[in-house]
Amino acid sequence: MIFYKKPLPKREGVAKRKSGDLPKFNIKNRIAFGGKAAYDMILKRALTLFSVSSCLTIYYSQEKDIDTVFVFDNQMKKVKLFHSLTTLSPADIQKNSSNLSEVLRFQSPVYIKENGRGAVSSPSFRGTTAQQTAFVWNGININSQFLGQGDINNIALFGYDHMEIKSGGGSVIYGSGAIGGSIHLNNDLSFNKGFNGMFNSEIASFGTYNNFAKAAFSNDKFSFKVSGNYLISQNDYEVPEENYINRNGKFYNSTLNIGTSYKIASNQTISWQSQFYDATQNYPIFTENGNKSKYESQTVRSLLSWDINNSKISNSLKAAYTEDNFQYFGNYNESYTSGGINKNYILKNDFNYFIDPKWNINVIGEFQQNQGEGLGTSGITGKVKRNVGSAAGLLRYFATSNLRFEAGIKQDFVEDIKSPLLYSFSGKWKANNWYSLNLNFSKNFRFPSFNDLYWTPGGNQDLRPETSVQTDMNHEFKVGDFKLTLSPYYIRITDMIRWLDTGLGYYSPFNTNKVESYGLESQLSYQKRFNEDHSVKLVAGYTYAKSINLETQKQLTYVPLHKFSSNVDYQYKFLRVYAQGMFNGLTYTTSDESKKYAIYPYFVMNAGLSATFMKNYTLGIKVNNITDTVYETMAYYPLPKRNYSINATINF
């Protein structure tokens, strides 16, 4: 009974295009989409740049994009030298515009457990737990300091320039929680593009309205971009087969993103990116008279970056401030019953030096102060804070243009917590035109959250971080316009932090379970432009995830053994069609692998059609769950059946 009245800090208390392709390919793409004139201009710029910063360009020739774009996450292009990432464009994100959960569900290998559309949601990447996926905003880890996990449906969805999905360990660069993988929400700023803007409006089923506007201006020295959106959904969908009405399911949120960059010298920029996000989310109830509660969150993220890029030396100095506040309203119509305030001050320096064209050394130092404060009945009583420092070194060796290695090491200094020495090793070898091999081996961690440490009662200050030792091997085959990637992986996690009953009337976290996860991630992609009028793109991914609690020898709950997702885009002149299909295999919801309580396999398909008129006006229609499938990702919380949306976009 005790577990019920004061539930665990649930609240207080988780297709595509591969990038990292050769630069030639990028240029080709631009030709394809920008026409001959654009190509000439880009080529000219490229040549100028090649001559100015020749060395670096040559070193990074494998991926070096034309340097007219400033990217906040400066590690990302280096990461892409060794790892295959899935990159989603704003257009891809727009296909699943309800929330981040849907984007990841249909366009990534991640399993997303969602308590009804738009409500509480958590990820499982490569069969790991919600705390073992890192959400990274412009290079900054934004997992909740209270929960240690990303609160997916309370992460802004609109206004990014790229979303990158990276499988596998990444703690050396992206910090705590990058075990199963990481989700990167990135902004960039272009130069010399003049003024452009767009406005998008969408009306969808269940009283859903979304308006998004974006404007950008840039010249050769200065770039500015602002975007914002407001999304509201009554979200009162019904699933008669399950006797389900999504009562009290309303949510709304608004986002404001502002980014600016200024070239203070030929090779120096000062850039600033901020995000303001406000969200309200009601928690669905099962019966008319159930207890209505809601959740509100306010997020501020601000990042200042000073970047120097010389031929041999580059440096990025960053200062950031992030604030995550939330309030839980145990009684819907009254003032909040609990909540939290989290403020983080971050200072980070990333120094990169080419000893010679083959050897590159990279040193990253970071210092953070995390402050937390509980509100109302929160178990975080008063204020808590901790200082977190880290030093990381990476050595990269470019043996030949087809063979390269990277070794990384990192030590974190988390106040009062003993952190393990982390390491990573990656090698990439392009054997021939059709086969390349990539091998990764790393040790990663997730350090205890504020709730794990300081929750009263139960907080355990003797916790050690969860650690993982993991490896994956990626085989990439290219035949014609097809690309197939097969990535078997193995992860062993020790010291998993689990909240257990103490027998004293409350729960407490302990380093307990050992978990072994292994499986296969695979992706098949096909991209072809037949002629001026026709182009097609297909990305299909299949994952097999076995995740075993070594004590019980059972599969972890909410880790489907099989997941398949695919996205097809087809363009014919001014018409675009896309279709998404997602198959989710048998998913256990209880720790004894009970088939009775399991979620049975399902297939869901979405599709959309859009037409562009007079270049700048686009009208589109989407049909989600065409198959009218009754399905759920969290037991007893069905997701919507067939639903529709229409949208209009104006570019100017």
Binding site: M1, I2, F3, Y4, K5, K6, P7, K10, N115, N243, I285, F286, T287, E288, N289, G290, N291, G330, N331, E334, T337, T377, L500, D501, T502, G503, L504, G505, F530, H534, V536, T557, V568, Y570, Y572, V577, A579, G581, F583, T590, S591, D592, S594, K595, K596, Y597, A598, Y600, P601, Y602, F603, M605, A607, I626, T627, T629, A635, Y636
Partner: protein
């Protein structure tokens, strides 16, 4: 690729998967009545509507899970089945997080009405003087006991308690209602409600030692078990509301789960089960059962003693269905079976 070829491809795709996704778990249930057997309440997971009731025959040979769902068009019973009361031909199922009391025919388990008026996080129920008394513990708010008329399920009255008080278990003894002002091992008083005036009568009765963990009724008397860190206590309270007898359970900390059967007390402490004669003065030195420790509050989450048999429920951390173990009063295992999620109490039907 032509557009229609693409569509063909897509539909082919859909067909392929829709064929492979039609399997569904089914339990086929023959028509039976639930007379002369035992009902086990499974409270379910907080935040999930998976509470239900298990039926098992007296000889433990036949069992059926989810009998509410099975008899009511697959409808979910609700969220957290906190307690059940049997009266006449009806069963009253109190659903804490659904703010609902579902009334069913106790022998067919078909729906026979419901109470929702004025409920706010209801906890426990008792019947007296033709009325149903329901304690309510609003999240971070008011504490009160509601009175409903059994004849038509209508709301009669709300009896407010001090905001500093607690209302938890409600029992009837000698025509009066007694409310346990203690929950989660905190609180040490019992309040009497006069069922004629439906008002609180007198000051709450404090227990001299320990915090109350459970309150039951037996032979028109109230029995309370209170826990301490070294010793625990069983208090007998008469229908007038006075403590008439105290049994000190020397050396037994955290006593809870009091049951009375065949003139004997049964209670638990952590994963141990004790038994003693009601008239004995010395506490038992050895447990009659030491259950496998699956977490102090999980192993003996449910504990009932009925007609010389002990039923314990290990809720397995609420991550999988509960395991019920049936023992003789001497502590010998008779049977083991799996009920639903979070099994609590066993009732004779």
């Amino acid at each position: 690729m032509k557009l229609n070829r693409l569509l063909q491809f897509i539909f082919g795709f859909v067909l392929l998967f829709s064929i492979s996704c039609t399997s569904e778990y089914e339990e086929t249930i023959p028509e039976i009545t639930y007379q002369n057997g035992l009902l086990i309440t499974n409270e379910g997971n907080f935040g999930s509507p998976n509470a239900d009731v298990t039926f098992i025959t007296k000889d433990l040979s036949l069992m059926q899970n989810d009998i509410y769902k099975a008899n009511n068009n697959k409808e979910n019973l609700g969220d957290v089945l906190q307690t059940m009361v049997l009266n006449g031909d009806k069963a009253y199922l109190l659903l804490n997080n659904s703010n609902k009391i579902q009334i069913v025919d106790r022998y067919s388990f078909k729906k026979a009405g419901e109470i929702t008026a004025q409920l706010n996080n209801p906890r426990y129920m008792a019947i007296a003087n033709g009325n149903l008394y329901v304690s309510n513990d609003k999240y971070g708010g008011a504490k009160f006991v509601n009175v409903y008329k059994l004849s038509d399920n209508s709301f009669v009255k709300k009896i407010d308690f001090a905001s500093t008080s607690t209302v938890e278990r409600v029992v009837e003894a000698g025509g009066n209602i007694f409310v346990q002002n203690a929950s989660y091992g905190f609180g040490n008083t019992i309040t009497k409600i006069n069922t004629t005036t439906n008002a609180i009568e007198g000051a709450p009765t404090p227990m001299p030692n320990g915090d109350i963990t459970k309150t039951i009724t037996y032979n028109s008397n109230v029995y309370v078990i209170a826990q301490g860190t070294a010793d625990s206590y069983i208090y007998q309270i008469n229908p007038a509301g006075s403590i008439v007898k105290t049994t000190t359970l020397t050396g037994i900390a955290n006593g809870t789960n009091l049951q009375i059967d065949g003139g004997r007390f049964y209670f638990t402490s952590s994963n141990k089960v004790y038994s003693m004669d009601m008239n004995a003065t010395a506490a038992p030195t050895n447990p009659i059962i030491t259950a496998v420790d699956g977490g102090a509050n999980f192993t003996l989450y449910g504990f009932s003693v009925i007609d010389g048999r002990i039923f314990t429920s290990d809720v397995k951390g609420f991550t999988q269905p509960s395991e019920i173990t049936v023992y003789t009063t001497g502590g010998t295992v008779i049977s083991k079976f799996t009920a639903g999620m979070g099994a609590t109490s066993v009732y004779k039907n």
